[in-house]
Symmetry: C2
Amino acid sequence: MDKINIQEKLNLITDYWKPIIVGELNKQQVRLVKIKGEFVMHKHENEDELFLVIKGCFKMDYGDRIVHINEGEFIIIPKGVKHRPIADTEAHLLLFEPETVLNTGDVKNSFTVNSPEKK
Amino acid sequence: MDKINIQEKLNLITDYWKPIIVGELNKQQVRLVKIKGEFVMHKHENEDELFLVIKGCFKMDYGDRIVHINEGEFIIIPKGVKHRPIADTEAHLLLFEPETVLNTGDVKNSFTVNSPEKK
């Protein structure tokens, strides 16, 4: 019931592609992540996922097309849809998604964060 | 799977306290609302609710204390907790909440919006 300052939480993040949990409600989580470079193509079988750009911009690669998402914009990836975020330069994102979401979905590799930290 | 520009959607809002639906995922909705003045004290029996300030600032009145929320900050109101948003000047908010949420919760009055528009 106290407020959360997004920038203060972003300041705690030191690694790219490692989301932190900054809020929980209705079995959903608010996560923050800093990204740079190319992520792995993956999908979430049972969860839709929202990406909101707090700072910078990034591209969502669906395989057959790419959508550019800028600061102040968000995109929702429906369950089952393959996607891969790409950031040419550092970008800061806010994610809304079920608490069950694994960041790499159906893929397990060096990007996988099994238990994001709560900060 | 296309992006949503928050400012473009805010530009469609003409009335205070009338949320519009701009995104849906996992039975939750992303809503946008412009607020000014004092809302009605209410609670949501079964839903937690998130308020994120896009522009301006507002106060959340819990009855026994008030929290000031500024641009770039958010607050989560747990289910069952009485709350009342107050905006001394116009503020623009993004809400993340279950699709079942009625804006005035357990109260019905002139602020009640039974079916927010999708825009």
